[in-house]
Amino acid sequence: MTSADEFSYDTLVIDAEKEVEKICSRIRDGLKNRLKRRGLVVGLSGGIDSSVTAALAVKAIGSDRVFGLEMPERHSAKETTSLSRSVIDHLGIDSQRIDISPILEAVGFYRLYDDAVRLAIPGYGAGWKSKIVISSIFEHQGFSLLSVVAQSPDGETVTERLPLKPYLEIVAATNFKQRTRKMLEYYHADRLNFAVAGTPNRLEYDQGFFVKLGDGAADLKPIAHLYKTQVYQLAEYLGIPEEVRKRPPTTDTYSLAQGQDEFYFSLPYRAMDLCLYGKNHGIEPAKVAQAIGLKPGQVQKVYEDIDTKRVTTRYLHLKPLLMEEVPEIVV
């Protein structure tokens, strides 16, 4: 970008070849000099972020040093495994598919989740599907409202605002999914003497859209500095299968289909990217608003929401607090 006047979606365009080279060099450097591991484990969800992360890993260290894990469960979208399979085939990596439903069943996830939803919707039970949604920062003036949306087996939809207890219990139960997956990733990493690659993009990393010690845990995070739009750019450059690149982002966490922008982000990712970039670079809301077709006041609200989320999720980034420094341990 040569001047703020030219602020547009093109602002986020990067030199994909150069970026890939840089990331690959840093992956190799990290493995060799810091992590001292021989390869990388990547959990593959069939989404764009994990696909690009795996492709970068392959480009950096070769397909024989990358191990892919597909970890669907009962609530995963049907297309998940065919998409992750296509990425595995494309990359030519060794992989394993583990249905994590029995593990989740054993820790009581499905029962705990249903019990928690029933606190808000007493009729909820077998055959129902549900998801959590957040109020639009444009429609609701005030604190974010979190609601559970449930669909009965005969298609009736019920929406209830979530009070504290069911909200916390739903989130706590759901976090079992990301933590179970991470546990398996580290099992394979330990078995192979590999490290674990995390898959957050910049929006997720900055806004705390991850589970602590779940998908937030990793030894390196190759795309955490990249806006989601840029991840798509790299996906194209790296030849990620088209069906993966064309699929709208999903949380793939709840049984009812859920877009990331109805659960967490206030805007679809392309617009959210520009707002985050604009805020990070001190660009006036009016300029960003013009580029994405919103009102300046709306972009101002997104800027404020970005700050709110940064504050709320700071805990997720924190390392354990020590009561006193241990100077001999340098990381």
């Binding site: 109020s135 005030g142 979190l146 009070p163 504290l164 709110t308 709320t312």
Partner: protein, 83 residues
């Protein structure tokens, strides 16, 4: 109203500040001071609904009602006057 204020203040000090109320004024913004985040606001709502037997409606979930001890006391006053 001063009894209500004391109840609210005692809850805030106990639940969020672990008993240390230094610097906490009736006008201190919970959000701006970083004392309470969005999950904390859910805790506040839960406390108000249980303690004062009220129902906080969606449109009432705004900083003007909930973001300081003073705002909460004012909100409760208006709410209970209607009840």
């Amino acid at each position: 109203m001063s009894e209500t204020r004391e109840q609210v203040r005692a809850y805030i000090v106990d639940n969020f500040l672990f008993g240390d109320d230094s610097g906490l004024e009736d006008s201190t913004s919970f959000l701006e001071s970083g004392m309470i985040d969005s999950t904390g606001i859910l805790e506040v709502i839960s406390f108000l609904e249980e303690q004062f037997s009220i129902k906080v409606h969606d449109e009432e979930l705004i900083p003007e009602n909930l973001d300081s001890i003073g705002n909460i006391v004012g909100f409760l006053g208006a709410k209970m006057a209607v009840a």
